[in-house]
């Protein structure tokens, strides 16, 4: 072993260690920010390690430097700009976009190696070694392409650029996807047999497969898909690690792949969906429109903002249940003002955060933190559920399925078994909502029919602004 090899080995080892510590640290609120920086540092360290290794051994041609600099500057610049500009509410689609680009990168590497086999490393031709090489190239392309097209479709759907086309809900889609999958398998074997041109077939059909699998999935399930695709991009990176013979890539890719799978599992649990039904079941609303024939509301009580303000003023304990609708209306800051007023009046205010509130686990925490809500006031579902019977007023803001009592009471409901917030146990429930439209699941919400529930119709931000006005008139929070 010569010196550059030893140095690279040490740096790689250090980078893996720091990346692992980074991921570990990201799991605690206190250390998360430093851990993220640590991981970023580890990544730059790995680049330094790789470049110094090549400088010390084969040297790096000027031409290579030029292309390295061009690629780095453009990629980093766009990444940094997007990361600074994107609003917090669009976080899920941003992660999807970044993720897709990671997949694209793995795909391109494999494609490059496949078309122009790189010299070095394989001086003596070895059948076993070339087989491994071809398999890892194929895996890298297959997974990379699915990650890319799947993520782009997911992003487009979350942005509202793409709706779920009706035909994708029919059974035909399974047949189409199976055809794509079989075609990629054929291309794969053809490639191993030495037919290099079939690599293009592999690229095309696996891209189509990524689209075909993601397109039928409804908006509600998208976070799960993004998380799964995040896992895939790790797998694609690991496969690319086999292609260029880099342990560091394999370790880091495998870690991300495993992490993504765990996260996906957690999200599925929170939404009471199995991964299989997310991937192959199509959009949930399409399934349930047929089954929920009893979807008529019989006992809706609507009330004015003024009544709502009066009830709030008399309360001792208030629980806020924020949902994605709040984020869409960009009303988290207005909400914070309302709760500030209530707190000044000595009313205890707590936010009940369902595990999948917002559009990703933890998304709502980020949005509320952005509005300066103290971290201690955010309570997780299991912690807050026993508190509802002792609560005077619950404000449901843009949440729907996560407060549907059907999930507990009605075994025929598609929601049955999903963990929900027991808001109906509280004395009074106000649901602030634009209209009677159903939630993501498309299922009727029994909560709205209950006698202690009142609907306040209107845009969340406008209602909250009116509420501030009413509270002011009542002299709440002014001393």
């Amino acid at each position: 072993m010569n010196l550059p090899v030893i140095i690279k080995f040490v740096i790689d080892l250090l980078a893996v260690l720091l990346l692992a510590l980074g991921i570990k640290g990201l799991s605690k609120v206190k250390s998360a920010r430093d851990a993220n920086r640590l991981a970023a540092f580890a990544m730059s360290l790995s680049v330094v390690g790789l470049l110094s290794y090549y400088l010390g051994t084969s040297g790096i041609a000027v031409q290579s430097w030029i292309w390295i600099i061009i690629g780095s500057i453009i990629g980093s610049l766009f990444g940094a700009i997007l990361a600074k500009k994107v609003p917090m509410t669009s976080m899920p689609e941003t992660v999807a976009l970044f993720n897709g680009c990671g997949g694209m990168s793995s795909l391109l590497v494999a494609l490059g190696v496949a078309i122009f086999p790189i010299s070095g490393g394989q001086e003596n031709f070895d059948f076993f070694k070339s087989l491994i090489n071809e398999v890892s190239i194929s895996v890298s392309i297959f997974v990379g392409a699915i990650t890319f097209t799947g993520s782009i479709v997911a992003m487009a759907k979350l942005q509202g650029w793409l709706s779920t086309p009706g035909w994708t809900q029919s059974k035909v889609r399974h047949f189409v996807n199976i055809v794509f999958a079989v075609a990629s398998l054929i291309a794969f074997f053809d490639l191993i047999n030495g037919n290099t041109s079939s690599i293009w077939l592999l690229v095309i059909v696996s891209s189509l497969l990524g689209i075909g699998v993601t397109l039928p999935i409804g908006g509600a399930d998208m976070p799960v898909v993004i998380s799964l695709l995040n896992s895939y991009s790790g797998i694609a990176a690991a496969a690319a690690g086999f292609v260029v013979d880099s342990q560091l890539l394999i370790v880091a890719g495998a870690m991300v792949g495993a992490a993504g799978l765990i996260l996906t599992q957690v999200m599925c649990k929170g939404m009471n969906r199995s991964l299989v039904s997310v991937l192959f079941g199509g959009s949930l609303s399409a399934q349930s429109t047929a089954s929920s024939g009893s979807g008529e509301y019989t006992n809706i009580t609507s009330c004015s903002v003024e009544e709502c303000a009066l009830t709030l003023e008399a309360a001792n304990k208030v629980i806020i249940v924020p949902g994605y609708g709040l984020a869409v209306a960009q009303a988290q800051h207005t909400l914070r003002e309302v709760t500030k007023k209530l707190e000044q009046n000595g009313i205890e205010v707590v936010y009940a955060i369902h595990p999948v509130a917002g559009r990703m686990p933890g998304h709502m925490n980020v949005l509320l933190a952005e509005a300066d809500v103290p971290y201690e006031q955010l309570k997780e579902m299991d912690v807050v559920n026993p508190d509802f019977p002792a609560t005077d007023v619950v404000l449901v803001l843009g949440a729907n399925d996560v407060v549907n009592p059907q999930a507990k009471n009605d075994s025929s409901s598609p929601l049955y078994g999903m963990p929900v917030l027991d808001v109906q146990e509280a004395r009074t429930v106000f649901v602030i909502k634009r209209g009677m439209s159903a939630g993501y699941s498309g299922i009727k919400n029994d909560l709205f029919d209950l006698p202690n529930t009142s609907m306040v119709f209107g845009d969340a931000k406008k209602v909250l602004n009116d509420l501030i006005g009413e509270l002011k008139d009542l002299g709440v929070g002014e001393k």
Binding site: S27, R33, L50, I68, S105, S106, L108, V109, A237
Partner: protein
Amino acid sequence: MSFISLLWVLLLGSLLGLELIGKVPPTLHTPLMSGANAISGITMLAALTLIVKAEGNVPLLIIGSVSLGFALFNVVGGFFVTDRMLAMFSRKPSNKK
């Protein structure tokens, strides 16, 4: 590296990933996902290798450079956006004036 030892690396890496993520509060799932996502941009190393080993092959250089660009877009964007999210969590002591 022999293929078998690379497989070991893959296996141990996966186990490490499973173990590391096991106990995360839901609060941090979105930042964690975005942080992990940034790490998956580690393919930038593969892209760099490709460029260094291209030996003047211009199409390969271009493919490598584009790949590097995509990977860095993922890495830089991912870490920045994660930092932005986490900055909001750590800001909380300041608003208790």
